[in-house]
Every structure is written in C-alpha cells, then in structure tokens.
Chain length 355, copies 2
C-alpha cells in the first residue's frame, strides 16, 4: 500500500484551510504533527478577527470562469495603523476598483495598484488619490516594545512582564534581528538598542534577560506591504504587494507591512510571471494583467457576505506546543529534528470561524 | 518623474537571467547593489557547469502555446551522488517521459512523477522502474566536511584549511544548524558533532575556531529533492519535487536534495494549485496535471541543443562582496541594513554561458 510522500511534512501554508495531513495507512508511530496539535486547541484559544480588519479583494474571474476572491487581514495596533487607515479610505472611496495586478516577480512579490505608478512599462498619468490620506514617517516602521511578554527558546525559561496588551516574543536564534517572535498573532522581530549593533543577532542571545525595546513586523510569505518611492517617501497604501517566495527580510524596517493574505493566496501566487524589468508585465503582455474588480472592508459588506475568520492565539499553550513541534518535528515522516525554526516557517494558524 | 518602487530590492530570483535592477532616473547616491557587484565579476570567476550535470525537462506547451522548458542543475560530489546517478538512469531509459506534475501545494512544493506513486488521489498500479537503480542509505543525506574552507561572519576573521577540494562555509548565525554557508556554488549547512546538541545553533557561534564535521544541502527556493516513503526508504529519484515557497528547512537531512532549477522555474511555480490533500490534483482536476514530454541529460542532446550555464564561484572575492552586500543592503532604496542574511536569501548567481 502506498503512503503519502513528504506528506506529514506538508502542513505549511499561510492559508485559512488548516487541513489535517492525510491520515496514512500503515503510518509509523510518532509524536503528533504541528497540525494535529493545532486541531487539539480549545475553542477559547481561537481569536476572532474584527470585520474592520478584513479586506475583501475580488479579482476578475479566471479564464476558466473560476471566481477569485482574496482576503487580507490588517495588522492590529500599534503596527502600521496610519497606512491601514489609508487603505480603508482607499477601499471606501472606491479608489482600488478597476486597478490591476501589474507585477509578478518569481520568488519575490506580486504587486497591484495604479498601472501608471512607478511602472517602467507604462507612461500614462497616475490616478488621482482621494483626499485625507496620512503621510506616514519612516519612524513608524517599528513600534515600541514597551508592552510585551518575552519567551526564551522553546523549552527554555519564560520571562513575563505584567504589561498589557501582552506581546509575546519567542527567541528563535535571531539572524535578521536580535529577536524573532510573535505578537498578537503576528510574526515580529525586535532589537534591544542597549546592545551594541555589532553584538546583536547571534550574540544578543547571550545577554541574559535582555529584551527588545523596538519591534516590527517581518516579511514572511503572504505578508502584504506598501509600495513606496525612495526615502523619505513611505507610500500611501495605494500600491500594495504580497510576498510570493522566500521571506525577503532585508525589506524589514525598510517598507511598511500592513497585513497578510489569509485566503485566496493561490490566486496571486500562481499568476503568470511578468517578463519586464522587476517582473512587471510588458505592454506586449498587457492581457496578463489581472483586473481587480472591487476591494471592500469586510465591515462594509452586508452581513451575509461578510467573511469571518479567527486565528490561534499566540499567547496560549497550544501555540507554544505548535512552535516547539515545528522546531523539532518528531511526527512519523521525520528522522532528524531541526533543532530550530525560522519565524517564517511557523505560520500562525488561521481558519474560517466555526470550522 | 516616477521611480521604481521596491525596485532596487528586487534582484532575488533563482534564475539564470541575472538582470540588472532598473536604472532609475533621479536615483539617490548609494552603494552598489548586490547585482551590480555580480556584474563586476571577472570572467574567470564564472565556473562552467558540466553538461552531465544539467537535466532538461520539457513540459507540454502552455494553453496559450508558450513552450515550457525547465533546466535542473545536479549537485556535484560529494553530495547525493547515488540519487543523481539514478536520475540520469531514469532519464536515459526514458522512464520520465509522459509522467505528469501531480501536486502543487502553495508555499511548499511542486511534485512530478508517476501519477500512481503515493498519490492519495489515484489508485492505479505504479509504473515499473528500470533495473540498476541504487538503493541509498539515510546516512548519505549528509557528507563529511573534511575538506572545506571556513569563513567567519562577513567582515570577520577568515579561517582556512589547506584541504582540497575547497568547501567554503560562511557563518551566518545558524538557526537550523550550527553553520550555514556555501560549498562549490551550493547553499549548505553543517554541524560540529563535538559541540553538544543543545549548544548548537545560536551558541555554537561562540565556539572560537569551531568547524563543522558534517555538512548537507539546504531546502532553499528552487532546490530539487527526491520524494520518498517512510524511513528507512530514501526514494529512488523517480519522484521529484521543487520548493516553491519559504525554505522548508525542517526537511533538511530528512530528504535527499539533488539539485536546483536554474531556468524555467516560473513554469512550475505558477502552475495552478491542487485542491486535493497535500496539493495533489483531484480526479476532477485531472486536466490541470501538466504533462512532462521528455527529460534528457544535457550531455545526451545534440551539441546545438545543449544549454550551457555557469555559476559565480562561491570561493571568489566577488561572491564574498555579494554576500556582504545582501546582508547589509546599502544601495539607494534601503534605509536600515539588516545586519544579516538568510542562506536562502543569498541565491548563487547563475547565467547562460557567454551572457
């Protein structure tokens, strides 16, 4: 009898369908997989996502008639809120309606917005932006970590502050930062500015009880960010992109991240790549640009059309077990547990509410 | 005048076309980008890839008539050579001809092979394998690091052994391993077994002059591996996959890696995702399975059809500068250099010979 190959290693999708790995016949004994751990979570460990924090983007149907809807979850305060407000304004004024996906660069980003904004393949006039958009400062790329809970390495000692809201940091051998971890259901990184820059990253771990004082969201697969021009421009939110490859974390602290795609990612990640500079579609490929029909804040939709989602609390016991299991896979397919995990290889479980 | 957005951050594609970032008008002054550094390499820093190490996979044309050819580069000795030999045998006996792409799982893998091998969506009999395939042992997932050159962090002290062939290790704040680095043009990781397991990863860096004694290839975007059944099975090479998302490095040392896609990656990464378990296409989606028409070792092709490629030596000065630039982007788009880089965010430059 055949068994699934690389199957039990499979549960790695930043997607709302948090399906169980296939229950194979003749499966060897082993520890529960990360997904099985998530399935055992108590109902109260799942946190509802406010409708105001969901953006529903409807693409034109695919050539075979398939409907294509993409749902984006915004980051909560204190992260990137000025840009998030701009995006709600752009959605509510209908500014995004009838824009297109203009750039698909393999192993990097899909970008949608105004065809004439910063596109080397076009030379028309940019679309007029609505009034009232905030102009954000680069300092808002990071936020104070004055409220957080700090966790040591999985299995290590737990340090906890008494502050609220609780932001949790899991120290997983920082490479792009002194710390990588999770805050309110999001992957974040942080530094402790008291630690000399040259001693951050690998060495900061050696500082006992050291804690980050600034944290920021990180560019994992499926995260959504704000295209911008050269510094000091920080972008308005009219031009958006999502990551469709290995986490380009050199963009962290250099561009505003505003959210992540929680459903319909495949409608963007499987688009044909553009052959122009930077993956923009050339004029000869104009037919490949996917039209975006409407973009709506979920709370503005009639109740019956409003999608509802929830994420697994990153503060709970189940999430801690899930992190530890992802860092040391001991389910039947695995021979050698890794002994660590990349923050972007620990997607926060998200599902349709009530599933 | 508009300028390209996230443009100078763009050069991140495991692709043969190592194009320069768009030369923007009014671009601020800044350090050279990683790509500009690569463009400055001397001709002798580019290393030819033997035709025996290239596999040309021709897919059926796309629905719009586009021809689709994928080129895979095999890993050199001492890595995974038993599986590589099997793959050459499978190609030379025509075994791969008329197989299909059966699985496309978003942010994970594309897998091709025998529709009836380990596919939960099919129940036919597997295709008979040719004789003479080697049965490889799990111990071959890693190789001795007795010959290598060890580099400290970029900018740090360089330790060098006198051994040959020279394998280079760049210590970039290991997380999945004590060391991440490069060997003969490939991303590899390693451990020093004398360092206690619990002190590896973050802490191993503190061991002065510590060197890995075992190294192994890592699951970066575009790497090609061998599907297998449960341990102790290690797969024959008949079933292959490539990574189309964030590096699933928990698979390192658990599955054999045999190569990487160096051209035509977009023909696999943009395929429609399967909706069955693990991203397999369901029977209702049978029409989405992409036929693989032929798979040939390049050295078996007529000289005129033989593609020729070269990679930038990972031993040279240009590569060292390129790594340092990727770890600390100072070209005009960037505000905050990261201070580090993930091994899978440092793709080895590869191009068609003579470009």
């Amino acid at each position: 009898m055949n068994k699934p190959l690389i199957s039990l290693a499979a549960a790695f999708a930043l997607s709302a369908s948090w399906t169980s790995p296939l229950a194979a016949q003749d499966e060897p004994a082993g520890a529960p997989s990360p997904n099985e751990i998530v399935e055992g979570a108590e109902a109260e460990e799942w946190v509802s996502i406010p409708a105001e924090d969901l953006l529903v983007m409807t693409l034109a149907p695919a050539s075979d008639g398939t409907e294509r809807e993409v749902v984006i979850q915004f980051m909560p305060a204190p992260f990137s809120q000025g840009w998030v407000e701009n995006i709600r304004t752009l959605a509510r004024t209908g500014w995004y309606d009838d824009i297109t996906v203009n750039r698909v660069q393999d192993n990097y980003v899909v970008q949608w917005g105004d065809l004439n904004y910063d596109n080397p393949e076009a030379d028309g006039e940019p679309k007029l932006l609505p009034e009232g958009l905030k102009v954000m400062d680069e300092s808002a790329y990071t936020v104070p970590a004055s409220h957080y809970r700090f966790y040591g390495k999985p299995g290590g000692k737990v340090h906890e502050s008494r502050s609220t809201p609780p932001l949790k940091m899991v120290n997983l051998f920082g490479r792009y930062a002194g710390y990588d971890g999770f805050s309110q259901g999001w992957p974040v990184a942080g530094n402790n500015s008291a630690v000399p820059a040259k001693k951050r990253n690998a060495r900061e771990n050696a500082y006992n009880n050291s804690r980050p004082d600034r944290i920021w969201p990180v560019h994992c697969y499926g995260m959504v960010g704000v295209g911008r021009n050269y510094s000091p421009d920080t972008g308005s939110g009219a031009e958006l992109y999502t990551v469709i490859g290995h986490a380009p974390r050199h963009l962290d602290r250099n561009i505003a991240l505003v959210g992540r795609i929680i459903e319909g990612m495949e409608h963007l990640s499987s688009l044909p790549r553009g052959s122009g500079a930077l993956g923009f579609y050339t004029e000869e490929e104009a037919g490949k640009r996917t039209p975006i029909v409407t973009v709506r804040v979920a709370s503005d939709l009639p109740a019956a059309e409003r999608p509802t989602f929830e994420y697994l609390s990153t503060e709970g016991e189940t999430f801690a077990k899930y992190v530890a299991a992802r860092a040391n896979r001991r389910d039947p397919f695995f021979i050698v547990p890794a002994g660590g995990a990349d923050i972007c290889n620990i997607p926060v479980p998200i599902r349709r509410a009530g599933e």
